[in-house]
């Protein structure tokens, strides 16, 4: 019987001819990613008591959640990680100012190859399915086990296939498509599943946009998600638990917004009414890439950020930062009144660099709008595309890009 992408990769990594959904296998891990929580992993690893990690060249550690250190406590964590990295001979370590957000840095430095098994102590590790990898998030103690043994058990997931046809309207992007899908399927709509995206509309998307789909699939519970790559494909007779077909032209005709406090609380922008915003955030592992800055700069050119609103821009990596400067996007956005944060997670996880006060609302290109995610439990986060974030910054309320560019 034919296998899906997830089945194919798990079969190879566990040394079997085939695997089927629900089968538990022990798979060899090709790449193990951690960020600041490498410190938690390190502690668990020390408790286990083995001297050396299984393969220092397969471990990548990237500081991104609190960079540069915002407190003495974090500084101590960073220091402990640096010492551990030296002690274990882990060469793939990206310190403050050398990298950026872990998923972007992993991708842009070519660490991920099609067919790999990638695990990361970050839930959005699913992002790397855009490069044909079986990439799943795991917890810190589990990662300590991977550092010890280089393998991990997986229950083979059933696969859900999402085929997208049609054209994206002007100002509609991959972010709107995936928010729409999450809205339809719900926050647990792909729980424990592998998701394969395909179809003409997907194949026309840039790599950066495909990363958006794989990244946000996590928010409907997916274990792994894939967009098509040349090197590895599902077998023709592969069995899908469910096939969903979407006509982007008709179903995602306008920008989509995930309203507080759930990623599946999705509405088309026109159904939103008047939502003033005190903050607009452009960044994160979801939407902090060059194409996101390009469209935002296009909207912001010659405009001013509304006096009610603060616009915070965070390049996903040093490399993107440089490129965005070279292309003039940073200049345009700063001239419009944006504040640029250093590459990293910034306010996405609610620890620094743009925390919300009670009563404030934020429109954000990030991926979670849970209660208190970006600050006060009485603040609200609306998730949107980079174009909507930029337009809303100008309008001072959640706005369609067509309104401010007309």
């Amino acid at each position: 019987m034919g296998m899906t992408l997830a089945e194919k990769i798990l079969a190879r990594a566990s040394g079997r001819a085939t695997v089927t959904p629900d089968q538990v296998v022990v798979a060899r891990v090709d790449l193990a990613l951690s960020h600041e929580n490498a410190d938690l992993v390190r502690k668990s690893f020390k408790e286990i008591g083995v001297a050396r990690v299984w393969d220092p060249d397969k471990i990548v550690i990237i500081l991104d959640h609190r960079v540069p250190a915002e407190s003495e406590k974090t500084a101590t964590t960073h220091k402990a990680i640096r010492e551990f990295v030296r002690e274990q001979g882990i060469r793939n370590f990206y310190d403050v100012g050398r990298g950026g957000i872990c998923h972007q840095v992993l991708a842009e430095n070519g660490h991920v190859q099609p067919g790999m098994v990638v695990v990361g102590t970050d839930s959005h590790t699913t992002t790397h399915g855009a490069f044909g990898a079986f990439a799943a998030g795991i917890g810190a103690t589990e990662m300590a086990g991977v550092w010890t043994e280089g393998e991990l058990w997986f229950k083979t997931p059933a696969t859900m296939r999402i085929e997208v046809d049609g054209e994206f309207a002007e100002w509609v992007s991959a972010k709107d498509l995936i928010l729409y899908i999450i809205g339809q399927l719900g926050a647990d709509g792909a729980d424990y599943r592998a998701v394969e995206f395909d179809g003409p509309a997907i194949r026309r998307l840039s790599v950066a946009s495909r990363m958006v789909l794989a990244n946000l699939s996590m928010e409907m519970g997916a274990k792994v998600a894939f967009t098509p790559v040349e090197e590895i494909a599902p077998d023709p007779g592969a069995h899908y638990e469910r096939v969903i077909r979407i006509d982007a032209t008709r179903e995602v005709a306008e920008p989509q917004i995930a309203c507080p406090h759930a990623v599946d609380n999705v509405k088309p922008l026109s159904a939103l009414g008047n939502v003033p915003v005190e903050q607009a955030v452009l960044g994160s592992c979801t939407n902090g890439r060059l194409e996101d800055f390009e469209i935002a700069a296009r909207i912001l050119a010659g405009c001013r950020v509304h006096q009610r609103t603060r616009l915070i821009v965070i390049p996903a990596s040093q490399r993107i930062y440089l490129e965005a400067m070279r292309l003039g996007y940073i200049q345009t956005m700063v001239e419009a009144g944006a504040m640029v944060n250093p590459p990293g997670c910034g306010p996405c996880v609610g620890v620094h660099q743009g925390i919300l006060a009670a009563g404030e609302a934020c429109v954000s290109s990030t991926n979670r709008n849970f209660l208190g995610r970006m600050g006060s439990k009485d603040s609200r986060v609306y998730l949107a595309s980079p174009a909507v974030v930029a337009a809303s910054a100008v309008a001072g309320r959640i706005a369609h890009p067509a309104e401010v560019t007309a």
Binding site: I138, T141, F370, R373
Partner: protein, 171 residues
């Protein structure tokens, strides 16, 4: 855990809705706390601030669908476990939270149709997949634990499990 301990009893301390996410369980701002015991101080801090004071050792949290969705943060599991919670019973769990729980030795039980209210006394048979509400007398099916999960829970979690394994093999 011994065979005996694969049965546990406790009081339902709270009944929570569907999609309780990891930010609700443990806010992101405390992620730089890497001392597992200390995470308990911030359990449910933003969403259910009174719950911590009400918790007694061995209490059971009853959740809805997709419990623990969101972040991979292990502190969410640690905060539940080190607050003394005996088990979490939910209609379904987000996969990373589920695995983190087993790895830290916190029993997590998937059961579709448990009828119970805060204050009810439950008895859970983890191996058989059975939950009895001792207060109402009703009995419910639960998904029996995977043998791998049983092995890890019996060892007290992944760390003691691996510790034992690697000290025997001398590696």
């Amino acid at each position: 855990m011994s065979e005996q301990a694969m049965k546990l009893r406790g009081r339902v301390v709270v009944v929570l809705p569907d999609n309780v996410d990891t930010d609700v369980i443990y806010p992101g701002r405390y992620l730089n706390i890497t001392d597992r015991e200390k995470t308990a101080e911030h359990l449910f801090e933003l969403a259910y601030p009174d719950l911590r004071a009400a918790l007694q050792p061995g209490d059971i949290i009853l959740g809805g669908k997709n419990f623990g969705c969101g972040s991979s943060r292990e502190q969410a599991t640690a905060a539940v476990k080190f607050s003394g919670v005996g088990a979490v019973v939910a209609k379904s769990f987000a996969r990373i939270f589920y695995r983190n729980s087993i790895n830290l030795g916190l029993p997590v039980v998937t059961a579709q149709a448990v009828e119970a209210r805060a204050g009810d006394e439950l008895e859970i048979d983890l191996l058989a997949g059975r939950i009895a509400n001792l207060t109402t007398g009703a009995v419910f099916d639960a998904a029996p634990l995977d043998p791998r999960a049983v092995e890890l829970l019996e060892a007290g979690g992944l760390i003691p499990y691996l510790k034992r394994k690697h000290s025997y093999s001398g590696s």
